[in-house]
Every structure is written in C-alpha cells, then in structure tokens.
C-alpha cells in the first residue's frame, strides 16, 4: 500500500467558531459610559432673596485652601488640617448628631446629641468653601467624601426601614428592567430616606 498524505482539515466549522467568539465579545464588552458626581447648581436669582436664618451650629464648614489642606469647622481657627480619610467620619458625626430637643428632636439619629453640633439632619448644612487656587482633584476628593457620608447614613436608615441599601434602591430604580409597580414603591422609599437625610451641600463662591 502507498503512504497517504495527511487528510485536509475540515474548515467548514471555522465560521461558526468565529461567530461564537464574536458574539461572546459582543456580549461581554460594555461600551464605556461616563460616570461622575452629579450636582445641582443653585439658581442665580436666589441670592437676591434673603436667605433663611441658620443657626451657626447647624452649619458645618469644610474649607480647602490653596495648599490642598482641609479644615473643618472649629479647626479653622486652630490651623489644624484634617486628613481626607477622617473627613467622612467628621461629616457623619455632624449630620447624625441629633442635638435638638422638642420640635427639633431627631428620633432616628444615633449621634451623641452634642448641643454644640447640629440639631437635626434636616437642618444641617454642609458648606464647602474653596480657594481659587485649590486643585480640582482635591475638590472632587472632598466632594466625594461628603457624598459618601450622606450615602452611609442613608444606607443605614434604608437598611433599618426596608432591609435594603439606599444605593441599591437607587440602582434598581434606574434599571429599566424593574417593573413599574416596583418603581413606584422604590420611588416612595427613596423619597422617605432622602427626606431623613437631605443632601444640603452648599458651595460658596471661592475666595480670591
């Protein structure tokens, strides 16, 4: 018998394999979407109206200076910069203080009730001040920590009331696969938690 050459490989299924791979990549790669911190700017004409009087103890001042140092409230005078890692805890301590009595009492706060700090999260305002020479990166880092403080507190209350994280609820609400009935329910719950810890972040215009 004569020796035969190796038989030709059947390439008929090559296209199928290629399509399989193609579909795999199509499904797994997500087209990049931008993400970031969403904010709402205050309307311009508001300045002309008289701002409602705020008690000094209900304002938490966060100051970022040109040397990227962060100062918080009373420490501004002491020239005692705060580390970025500690900022979140300080903000939580302030928001969750619940030092009010009577009408202003906060029945879900878990803070120490320090009379020198905020009365109620509904009244508490965080005022973020920066210098014109502050770097944008630092500013975003500070914003991020303050939003994290709000999210932590909101998560805590959402867990207590509905056994679900606030951030999870928001994600589910935005998900197009969630049914309308569910969305209605989520919207109400998100509203409740938001009312408990309203995000009052005021951004002052930078000092020259």
């Amino acid at each position: 018998m004569a020796k035969r050459g190796s038989p030709e490989v059947n390439a008929g299924s090559m296209a199928d394999i290629a399509f399989l791979l193609l579909i795999f990549f199509l499904v797994t790669t997500t087209i990049e979407t931008d993400s970031g911190i969403s904010r709402k700017l205050p309307p311009l004409d508001e300045e002309t109206e008289n701002p409602p009087p705020l008690k000094k103890k209900n304002i938490f001042i966060v100051l970022v200076n040109a040397n990227e140092e962060i100062f918080v409230d009373h420490d501004i005078i002491k020239e005692n910069p705060v580390k970025l890692e500690d900022l979140k805890d300080k903000a939580i301590e302030f928001l969750d203080n619940g030092g009010g009595t009577g009408d202003e009492a906060c029945n879900y706060c878990q803070g120490t009730g320090n009379p020198e700090s905020s009365d109620n999260p509904i009244k508490a305002v965080i005022s973020l001040q920066n210098d014109r020479m502050t770097e944008y990166g630092t500013y975003i880092a500070v914003q991020n920590e303050l939003v994290a403080a709000y999210n932590t507190l909101r998560n805590r209350e959402a867990q207590r009331l509905y056994n679900m994280d606030f951030t999870e609820m928001e994600k589910a609400f935005k998900n197009p696969e969630t049914s309308d009935a569910n969305k209605e329910k989520l919207k109400e719950r998100i509203g409740v938690v938001k009312d408990m810890f309203p995000q009052k972040l005021s951004e002052a215009e930078p000092k020259k």
Binding site: R4, A11, G36, I37, N130, M133, Y136, I140, A141
Partner: protein, 160 residues
C-alpha cells in the same frame, strides 16, 4: 500503476486558507466593539480625578460636554500652559459658554431640554477658579444640572 507512484511524492498538503477571512473579520469586529469613538478631539490635557460615589450618565444624547485643562503639549507653544476651556472642537472663552449652552438646547427636541445635563470633564490639576467661573456661567445660562465626570477609584488617589 503510474497513478500510485505520483501520489507517493506529494508530501503534506497545503493548509487551507479558506478560514482566513473569518479570522480577520473576527479581529475586525472585536476591535470595532472595544474601541470607543470620540466625537470631539481633545485639545486639552484631560486626566480626570478619581471618585467612588459616582452615578452613571445614562442617556448620552442628553449630555453636553465641557472640557477644561491645560492645552495639550502640541498646542502649548501657541496657547501657553494656562488652563483653558474647550467647547466642541475648539478652545473657547468663559463668556462663550452661555452661547454654547443655548446652541446645544436649540439642537435638542424641546421636551428634552429640561433633562439636559452638563458634564464637566476637567483635568485634575486645574485650579478651582476656572471651574467656579464655568459654574457661574452655567448658572447664568440656567443649566443647573451638572456632573463632575470622574474615573472610578479611591478618592485618595487625587491627593498625590
């Protein structure tokens, strides 16, 4: 008899190249999928800061982009190293922002206008003075919904 002898000398047959187009197409499709199209060419340095408390910008057609940062190295000879604003494909002055917002609004359907979001893509080394000026212009134009576009990551990375 001679028929059999011929076959003996043939050796290995050539590899079929019939599937080559498939492989090429596969690669092509892969790169088509993973590459992100940029509709504007950046003329400024644009290293975004990090943040982890982020929200996604879902509807791309509802977003207006404002870029800011130092001019890219190849434009620095002409424009210097002072941070600048970029709208669409060109450098712009702060005072052009209002006009830009109105133009963008004009190009969108009327019912979508209130839902428009301005995404600020600002280099992390930019001074806040410029960012504040941009925000002030946006307030004048009543484009109040903004988004500081960031990369996802620990905020501490910004402090380095």
């Amino acid at each position: 008899m001679s028929k059999f002898k011929k076959k003996q000398d043939e050796g290995t047959p050539a590899i079929s190249t019939a599937s080559l187009p498939d492989i090429v197409f596969m690669l092509l499709f892969f790169f088509m999928v993973v590459t992100v199209m940029r509709d504007t060419s950046l003329k400024v340095k644009n290293v975004l800061p990090y943040a982890d408390q982020v929200e996604k910008l879902e509807k791309k057609d509802l977003v207006m982009y404002i870029y800011a940062g130092k001019p890219s190295p190849r434009y620095q000879q002409q424009f210097g190293t002072e941070a600048r604003v970029q709208l669409n494909d060109n450098y712009a002055r702060i005072s052009d922002i209002q006009q830009f917002i109105f133009q963008e609004r004009e190009s969108k359907r009327e019912e979508l206008v209130p839902a428009l979001i301005t995404a600020l893509k600002v280099d992390k080394e930019t001074n806040m003075g410029l960012v504040s000026d941009i925000k002030q212009e946006l307030r004048k134009a009543e484009a109040l919904k903004i988004n500081y576009t960031t990369r996802e990551g620990d905020a501490n990375l910004n402090m380095e």
